[in-house]
Subunit: 554 residues, 2 copies
Amino acid sequence: MAILPQKVQIIPLGGLGEIGKNMTVIRFGDDIIVIDAGLMFPEDDMPGIDLVIPDISYLLDNKDLIRGIILTHGHEDHIGALPYVLKQLAVPVYGTRLTLGILEGLLKENNVSSNGLRSIRPGDEINLGSFIVGFIRVSHSIADAVGISIKTPIGTIVHTGDFKFDQTPVDGKATDFHKFAELGDQGVLVLLSDSTDAESPGFTKSEKTIGANFEEVFRNARERIIIATSSTNIHRIQQAVNIACKYKRKVAILGRSMTNVINIALELGYLNIAPGVMISPDEINKYPTSGVVILTTGSQGDQISPLSRIAMSEYRKIDIITGDTVIISANPIPGNEKSVSRTIDILFRQGAEVIYDKSSGAHVSGHASQEELKLMHNLIRPRFFVPIHGEYRHLIKHAKLAEELGMPKENIIVAENGHILEFTQDTGSFNGKITAGNVLVDGLGVGDVGNIVLRDRRQLAKDGILIVVITMDRQQGCLLAGPDFVSRGFVYVRESEQLMDEAKEKAKAALERCEVEGVTEWGMLKASVRDALGKYLYEKTRRRPMILPIIMEV
Amino acid sequence: MAILPQKVQIIPLGGLGEIGKNMTVIRFGDDIIVIDAGLMFPEDDMPGIDLVIPDISYLLDNKDLIRGIILTHGHEDHIGALPYVLKQLAVPVYGTRLTLGILEGLLKENNVSSNGLRSIRPGDEINLGSFIVGFIRVSHSIADAVGISIKTPIGTIVHTGDFKFDQTPVDGKATDFHKFAELGDQGVLVLLSDSTDAESPGFTKSEKTIGANFEEVFRNARERIIIATSSTNIHRIQQAVNIACKYKRKVAILGRSMTNVINIALELGYLNIAPGVMISPDEINKYPTSGVVILTTGSQGDQISPLSRIAMSEYRKIDIITGDTVIISANPIPGNEKSVSRTIDILFRQGAEVIYDKSSGAHVSGHASQEELKLMHNLIRPRFFVPIHGEYRHLIKHAKLAEELGMPKENIIVAENGHILEFTQDTGSFNGKITAGNVLVDGLGVGDVGNIVLRDRRQLAKDGILIVVITMDRQQGCLLAGPDFVSRGFVYVRESEQLMDEAKEKAKAALERCEVEGVTEWGMLKASVRDALGKYLYEKTRRRPMILPIIMEV
């Protein structure tokens, strides 16, 4: 009997063809490891949905094979699905200390046990089934991020995580060039690399440039300075605090998420703040306006963030004062452009000086630009390449970069979530699909809102609903009362009496036709009312409200 | 009796603090002229709304004083409200030939008469009441655009319209520098100037640069070329056609709006296409793929545009073939980023090469960047300056530019829609407010959807609706049937039977409590059911569907 060639499978469960819900399965024989378990924010066409997580049916079907979940860093699009995943899978979770610190907070909020968390350090290697998993320090817009090397019996896989090559990182700890070079030297079978910024030419700027730009602002500001940034950008927060000290301003933190992350980072030593620098939000108004810096979230225009609430004068502790300087230290996530610019406009209207645009240097990306992506390729020199983490066009751009670097086209695999990518020592190919996709989280419901509910919500949002209540006599099969109308989101009824009266006549006529024709079956009665009303209302209004006939029988 | 000082009033009705629905009123004594009457596309929080037009109550109240509506150019955000405005106001409308040609099509679609349209040419001056209105050629992303000079008895107002200083315009007709300089020499009281690109440093590139970049694409493309751009960008269409001729490709136009505009432009001589170049969409598949260019709309990701439908394989005449090149020759309008990138991703998935990003040079703006805005200021040297056409932050940026140029701060007025700005020869100040704002157009309804309907639509979109039908005995005041539930957009009922059953018990219990307590008033019965259900469902699902109790009495 011939020995079957050994194969490693890579199955992306999320993060391909989308920004968010990153999750990758790696399988060799009966051993599975999972890299990351992130969430994604809902698209415009998912009204009411709070967040989106990957469909993990494949993992539930292969529960016993999972040796662990490996985390690259503590951003929500890499760890945000874990409260849901860990409720269904009791497997160990490996990550750096800060990553696990942030995750622990998240699990606590969701009443999920943190017992399975296992802390590692960059440089560590651990054995998981037939894999040896190594953790490689990378720079990113959060501290303590790592790339992952996975040694399998048939070759090494390198997963970069989210990364950039910051030559002057704030904490002095650069991406581990040497380790990537060493892996490249030893030979890498497959490279999985972050494509988020594959459209950006050149190099991404160093996080340190932010410090210089912040300082420029501090030099010129007369009143308070408000810096809105991501709650997890420890290095940026560190720089803001350092400059605040230099300019003798006290620092207040607004917002639960940032307060939590800062506390964890302080506790674990990722953030250093001298005693006496921090003040509580309640103390802000006790200090002169020229002596305060406020750090907060809301750089994405989120309506319930402290920044938006301050802008709208809805925040108890603080209002914008003319002359305040607000730094929006972030780029809007695609889809958030409008809400971010709305916040900026309101802040300007309140009299603030707002520093926000790209030219202001108030933000740099945490992801590698094209030249850095090329550098990663040249360090790793992989046999096969699978671009991950990005919209489809980002994956395509990244694939083209690899081609430009001389990789044979057939060794570059642009995949989609759920594809099974199968690699031997010499070959890489698609081998079918597994179930993958979006699981929608709405309030406490996980997966209970599907396409039908969403389709209804979209229709309700567009043209509202018209409910037609009809009471029928059970014995006689004739109309006892109604049709009565109740509408919401369709027209303002008080100003549309004539329309509604005529519509009622149409509904009555439809019911009478049914009676004459001897139609008594409810489904047909309803359809008849729905058709007559739908046609009439569309003709009169060019709208298609959801029409819902309800028959009561007495 | 002292003679009152003569005043001119400028009242923006739209376009300030927003992109779109541009409309400005200028009043001197009993003479009113209106510049532009544009529409705006709805914001995210206006579900179901088709478009937004300015509230013209002020004009309706002063019908008899209006001497005319003056148009700067034929974009929708400058002429799109006219079908609605002209139904209510029978006043002459002045514009260049192309502007009126496009407007005529729009009016026809809406069954509005074009009798009041009066064609003018750049350089013309006309008398309207106490105003002398002059038309000044400007470059913009549509042909035949003008700025407006308005000579009033107390001084001249200059309204730039949308403009840029294109030094090498495609049709050789540059912005009329000399006229602006002459006006500046004679003295200008108020400058109203386009702020759309006030955030962009430097100069906006010439439209002609697009031609060179298109040509680069044509040189390399093997299969079909599809160019998606704005239907009204005649100069860009001209360049595409010219290059198509050079590379011996036939040109097909897809989409009603672009076909209409091209026909008008051909008829009026704004577009020159040699005979035999154009083919009908039905002929596309008769030509070799290397011999065809398709011009179409859809560069904003609009789902019903030909480009989106081609991408989705829903367009009858054409499918994407591997190797097709698609040029997205536009920048996404704020809010459209997601839909544009979705279209791009689908095109890539279909195997097209898509050229879209800023670095590709496939699009240039039609609006002046900072250095051009400064040039306009230096040519005009106005006494007072009012930034127009832009989000609030654009107006602020533009105001700051004016300050940098040495204008006294008190002579720069950042206003909002509805503000009455009053100018004498020496002073400029606010003098109250008039009614201004958004009128929402939904289907055939203009203004019948207001805040209440929108609030309902938003709630319905978020968590759906639960209808509770209860039949009561009129005589006894007791429950005859129900409560029965009908829900849409809340939960998938088939999978939520237990939840619905328990909710029904809660509703029943609430009704029984009412009976015990002798509560029979319908409003109170409904409130009691709503409260009990709302509380229960929020507890169980963390959702707040709209709960609509309906009582039938028999």
